[in-house]
């Protein structure tokens, strides 16, 4: 597509003659370049959006896993870590407040975006969960 665009000339606008020859080539090349740049930017945005949705989901499920484990007398944060891993995320924070009878666990997870440093390499999300009262 681009190769074809690069060879393109356009029917000259009335009255201007041969001097315009090749201007269409530049035009087509410029449009192709803009499209390619837009596509590249879109890939970055897409990677970030996907990772943030996965992080959101993983954070919710990890917090619930932690709360479930804690209610059952287990270690909430290690349950959260295992669950986050199962969902392709990394547990980066886990804080338990309150006692077993009434607690809130706050977790933070990150998901790799697959991008390099100047762009966000990971996306995070946090969530909290507790036990059902009563």
């Amino acid at each position: 597509m681009t190769a074809r665009g690069a060879r393109t000339t356009r029917v000259v606008v009335r009255g201007r003659g041969r001097a315009d020859r090749g201007s269409a080539t530049v035009f087509a090349a410029a449009i192709s370049l803009v499209l390619v740049m837009a596509a590249t930017a879109a890939v970055f945005v897409v990677a970030v959006v996907l990772a943030s949705h996965r992080a959101r989901s993983a954070a919710d499920l990890a917090a619930l896993a932690a709360a479930t484990s804690e209610v059952g007398g287990g270690d909430g944060c290690s349950a959260a870590r295992i669950n986050a891993h199962a969902n392709g995320a990394e547990l980066t924070g886990c804080r338990m407040t309150g006692e077993t009878s009434s607690f809130v666990v706050a977790v933070t997870v990150t998901v790799q975006t697959g991008l390099r440093a100047p762009l966000p390499p990971t996306m995070g999300a946090d969530a909290h969960a507790g036990n059902v009262a009563g």
Binding site: L35, A42, R54, S57, L64, A65, A86, N87
Partner: protein, 118 residues
């Protein structure tokens, strides 16, 4: 381009037409690629939501979450003694209307909650 001025004209028009078609096709592919990713995002969200409800053993909520699937989406729920894994699969055309499709899938695993039976 060995032809004379006048007969060159039509050829140039044809080339310009090809170039336009090419650019439009490229744009169409880019736009539909964005559509594919949106479906993937839907899969991720649906898998998470269904897993969360399945872990609670709430069949009605699972059914509600399943109503937000991408079109022609499929749900596979696997449960172990302590966890439930939900896989949402969808198939999306690479270019709208074409038979070239791409398979998308997302998985989410949740820990079964006490009293919840999926």
């Amino acid at each position: 381009m060995k032809s004379t001025r006048r007969s060159d004209r039509g050829a140039v028009t044809v080339e310009a037409a090809f170039a336009s078609v090419g650019l439009v096709a490229l744009l169409a592919v880019l736009v539909s690629a964005i559509g594919v990713v949106l479906v993937q995002v839907q899969c991720v969200d649906a898998a998470g939501a269904i897993a969360r409800q399945a872990a609670r053993g709430d069949a009605a909520a699972v059914a509600e979450a399943e109503s937000h699937l991408p079109k022609e989406g499929r749900v596979v729920i696997r449960a172990t003694a302590t966890t439930v894994t939900v896989r949402v699969e969808a198939r999306e055309s690479v270019v709208p209307g074409s038979s070239v499709t791409i398979d998308l899938a997302a998985e989410a695993t949740a820990v079964l909650e006490p009293g919840g039976s999926s």
